[in-house]
Chain length 312, copies 2
């Protein structure tokens, strides 16, 4: 039973409506007449962070990737529980400092968890459970034909940031920070959750995540590659070519919000995004049918072999 | 920063009342006018289970140890999220079967989580977050002078079960099952939670867990070693000597409930335990002061060097 089959097995088990078929960013539990949002994401050395990444940044990322799932549900974070495998004394010390900093930055109380000893040199696999409250939890499955496809911020910065962290590229420090210290779009998520037809966060790559949103919505997605928002810092390293745009849209680790809006809601959402200190960009359209198509000013763009980072 | 210092660091961060100073079995969050109980426990190969333990039993134990924390808060389980590091195809397949079985046995919906790939041969570290609801969440800190100290079921079976699993002892199959497939005392916990002054589950060893309960309550605990309930199956392997009783009381993995009761509440709790299909036994008394003392029919018993299994 490989990864894909294992996840299919989990879907077979997770039949309760709270689970949302395990095809959403987070579980939504009705409790006390309110909507409780729960997520548990792990980050693993060599997969989600590099062995030489500063432990304080790893702590930040662990918090941020989980809060990004809450953001996609329009949730206000309430608390977090940490699952920690002890590392070296130096690593532990730096991790605690980073964790405290991240929790303070997001005003997130740590309320529990578990710490376990593992043999020295074991791979680090850290987990965080984040809980939040939402008034209206959009799903990934609500996209309607004619809806615009929108994304917040800029895409691809973390990809270049990873290259910089690996010593494979030079570029603005802001790019490396996008990789190491992502900023979950909590405020924007809360503001626009009641207006979107579907929403998720971009973690595994814009194309892969959009194809998932389209699939669970039972619709097709047409993406205008030229519209994908790139930062100047990204463009300074990679340019704005078709190749660069495809790389940006498959790179992952963006932790921006991807959402669909009915015609006419765009202006209101743009105004809200400005209030939240960011921007949103229309990058495509939802259609009847299925699958993902890419175009740019030169015409159809063949889908890359990999749409994103295909771990679970 | 070693394990102890790391946990002290976490306590320094986890200042929110929901966290209960990280010195309780679970966090208790006020939400929607109700009490939500949250716990996240990990189990690690070589620490909490053996590499050759059947994966289905590992799945069971992962669920059971977390539900035992809910039991200690008198909580009814609502749902769980899984953090899973993929193993071999065979291991994954057997784990899924065991997980489904455990979730069904406890009527526990799986609602989310994360699955990550790790290099083949990596140490398995699995996490589960369990949430539940309680009407009255006893803490560990409420023990009062004069209270009786009580424990459910029998103590020490899992210790012998571990020896059997390791091929170091022969004994009744029920003992190995106590190690591999613990039964959280959910029903008993719910029934007696409103009556106890303090409660926790016994996971790291009766002596260690009792010393923790006494310490956070700011009281002393006097334990009558002869009163510690042993099963016939345990006694058939280890006998009922002082040495055997000390081993039972430090072995851990019992997942019974340890609690304190005011004078006069014992009979009612014994009746409730019978309803829940188990028994409770008075094993000592809470006094003014601090520390743990042991006696048996021959007099004072020196505390063993290790009171239990001192991981976090």
């Amino acid at each position: 039973m490989n990864e894909e089959e294992f996840i299919a097995g989990m879907r077979g088990i997770a039949t309760h409506p709270f689970a949302r078929g395990l095809s959403d960013d987070a579980a939504v539990v009705e409790f006390g007449g309110k909507q409780l949002v729960l997520t548990h994401d792990m980050i693993v050395e060599g997969v989600h962070f590099l062995a030489h990444d500063p432990p304080a940044d790893v702590a930040w990322k662990l918090v941020a990737v989980n809060l990004s799932d809450l953001a996609a549900k329009g949730a206000r974070p309430i608390a977090a529980l940490l699952g920690y495998t002890l590392g070296s004394n130096e690593w532990n010390r730096a991790f605690v400092i980073g964790l405290e900093q991240a929790l303070a930055a997001f005003d997130l109380p740590l309320i529990g968890g578990d710490t376990v000893s593992v043999p020295a040199g074991s791979l680090k696999a850290l987990g965080l459970t984040a809980i939040g409250e939402t008034k209206a939890a959009p799903s990934r499955a609500g996209a309607q034909p004619g809806d615009g496809i929108w994304v917040s911020g800029t895409i691809g910065d973390a990809l270049v940031g990873l290259d910089i962290s690996r010593g494979r590229a030079f570029g603005d420090a802001s790019l490396r920070n996008r990789y190491r210290r992502p900023r979950p779009q909590l405020e924007l998520g809360r503001m626009i959750a009641p207006l979107v037809t579907a929403m998720m966060d971009v973690s595994d790559g814009l194309l892969l995540d959009l194809s998932r949103l389209a699939a669970v919505s039972g619709r097709a997605a047409a993406l205008d590659l030229d519209a994908v928002p790139l930062s100047d810092a990204f463009a300074a390293v990679r340019g704005r070519t078709r190749e660069a745009r495809v790389a940006a849209a498959t790179g992952g680790d963006d932790y921006e919000l991807l959402f669909t809006l009915p015609d006419g809601a765009g202006e209101q959402v743009q105004a809200l995004a400005a209030e939240a200190g960011t921007a949103v960009t229309r990058i495509g359209t939802i259609n009847e049918g299925e699958g993902l198509t890419l175009t740019d000013s030169e015409g159809d763009v063949p889908l890359p072999e990999r749409l994103g980072y295909q771990h679970a």
